[in-house]
Subunit: 352 residues, 2 copies
């Protein structure tokens, strides 16, 4: 059948399958209440004629599901505790809904469940996957590659230059290193000389990149001024207690995200340090309402988290258009990373 | 086959199907590289003998996906803003993970997307659905019934006595009416006589049941003491402003959930009323950390939200075991509601 041939009708399918129009319609809309044998017969007729009346039939022919999976490589408890994920999901949800595509969030209790996630991805339930919050030693990218679905990553994958794949791995990220440089330069510009850094978990590239940005500016800093955090408020509190113990003369803190900055502020207050008079504090994310409701309101580096989600979904949907021919978006999950990197912006409030 | 009969072997399947052991094994593990005709023959032998060697074979026999969908009839923005949903999902996630079953959360932007959710459910991607936060005029239950998947509801469905279906609709709920009675009796026991009630959205049975519990105790109360809220902090603030306007002499507020109680506390403070001296306040949920972190800490009615999620998942998984024979859990989504109702408990803190 050429592109210009008349589109086959529902009647033609019914005639070829030897069933009623209503039966074809029921099969095409899900097949509920139709005997399996008839479903099969209609399906064959649909395929033979290339009948594409609507979404359901298109799915029969093209095996498109109009559904995209989102996999966050964190336990569900963290997914719901960190507003970063909600924001990224909001962007993804908006973009997918505009394309009448179902968002399928695959939750897990932790890393042990990632093989099951990969099985679901491989099971023909979705057209592609959006994956974020990768950790360096997580088997997830390998498992997802095995599942054979187009994938776009949120955040730069960590395998970087070691990649042997030929197809680029698509990702969307913020300029984490540049944003961190801006934060630390701002603190230095305020006359601060003992600038500490609370990192994120260093098995994530966003945390590594922000640490690199800090080091770009603070080349000769006392290494004891850097403490590893975990992107949570409790981690920020712990880190500040540790920092005050090691370097009681610190006069500024750059925290790798707003949640850990909020914990840092609490710990500084508990230790009797005034912010920003004694210790200036800068966060990262501009996560609202967190960043506005801290005491004092937080100076931070804004990244457009929702837009990152939107872009990830958009890239994946565009890749999906190429299915069945040509290269698929991210089909080799350890291909050379090829990313869209969004700019960041310093937002001044009271804490620095 | 009775429960005590020996389990059929791979060899028995091969003999009955007239193929090699290796072919049975290949079919049982997905069927790649085996002619469709042979796959069919093996499948029939597997079914005839009731051979259940492992997950893959079980899926062949039962068409089981080892995945359960969760549908929350709210826009994704509310799903992530209200910790109630996170808690219920935690219970569901734990239970499903214990059964190596994938939690598939279907997010939407709102009611307009519910038809798409139903299409996904009908598409053979999950073994069943857990549905919560139903609103009375939502087409979702009807759509889900059309999708033909076993369903368990969180919260009593609203169609109640009007149901014409023959199969009971399974649901899990808390004793909303009894809990509300306890809350209001506690306030009356403190000597309060002008007890106001901020309801939830009255198109949800949980809100209606809590209002009924309030009325059980406050039979002759001034009707102006009841204001409709929406389960959000902002709704609680609005309601208190309205109440103070209408009934400035009120001396107690029972809010239908902790989030609206937190807003009520803020509005009371803003109006110069002391809690509990001038106005005693009781919430519902015992949502932590919200209920502990309000100023003052909130007296409230505890419901075991996480356990509700666990029970929902457990009921669905048990129903799944009956697939292919007997009645399926919730196969008629408007059957007579038949529920498991969990007890509630008053938790005293400072606010009342």
């Amino acid at each position: 059948m050429t592109e210009t041939a008349p589109r086959p009708t529902l009647e033609a399918v019914a005639a070829l399958a030897g069933v009623s129009r209503a039966t074809v319609s029921r099969v095409v809309n899900g097949g509920a209440g139709v005997r399996e044998q008839l479903v099969e017969r209609v399906r064959r007729a649909v395929e033979q004629l290339g009948y594409v009346p609507n979404q359901a039939a298109r799915s029969l022919v093209t095996r498109r599901h109009d559904a995209v999976a989102v996999v966050i490589a964190e336990p569900e408890t963290r997914v719901f505790a960190d507003p970063f994920f909600a924001l990224q999901l909001r962007g993804i949800s908006k973009e997918l809904t505009e394309h009448d595509c179902q968002l399928v969030l695959l939750l897990t209790e932790g890393r042990d469940d990632h093989a099951r996630v990969a099985r679901y991805l491989a099971g023909g339930h979705v057209d592609g996957a959006l994956v974020f919050s990768l950790h360096l030693d997580d088997p997830l990218p390998r498992l997802i590659r095995g599942a054979g679905v187009p994938t776009v990553f949120g955040g730069r994958p960590g395998w970087g230059n070691g990649a042997r794949g030929t197809t680029p791995t698509l990702y969307v990220d913020s300029d984490n290193r540049g944003g961190a440089r801006d934060a630390v330069r701002h603190l230095v510009g305020l006359g601060r000389t003992r600038v500490a850094h609370i990192t994120g978990p260093l098995d994530q590239t966003s945390a590594v990149d922000r640490l690199d940005g800090y080091r770009d500016v603070m080349e000769d800093a006392d290494p004891r001024l850097v403490v590893e955090g975990d992107f949570t408020p409790a981690g920020g509190e712990r880190a500040v207690r540790q920092l005050l113990d090691r370097c009681p003369d610190l006069d500024a803190v750059f925290a790798a995200n707003d949640l850990s900055a909020s914990g840092a502020l609490r710990a500084l207050r508990a230790a009797g340090r005034r912010v920003p008079e004694d210790v200036a504090v800068v966060g990262f994310d501009d996560m609202l309402p967190v960043a506005e409701q801290t005491d004092p309101p937080l100076t931070t580096v804004r990244q457009d988290t929702e837009e990152m989600g939107r872009l990830m979904a958009g890239l994946l949907l565009r890749g999906r258009g190429r299915r069945g021919g040509g290269r698929q978006a991210g089909e080799d999950a350890e291909g050379t990373p090829s990313g869209v990197v969004l700019p960041t912006k310093l937002v001044r409030r009271v804490s620095a």
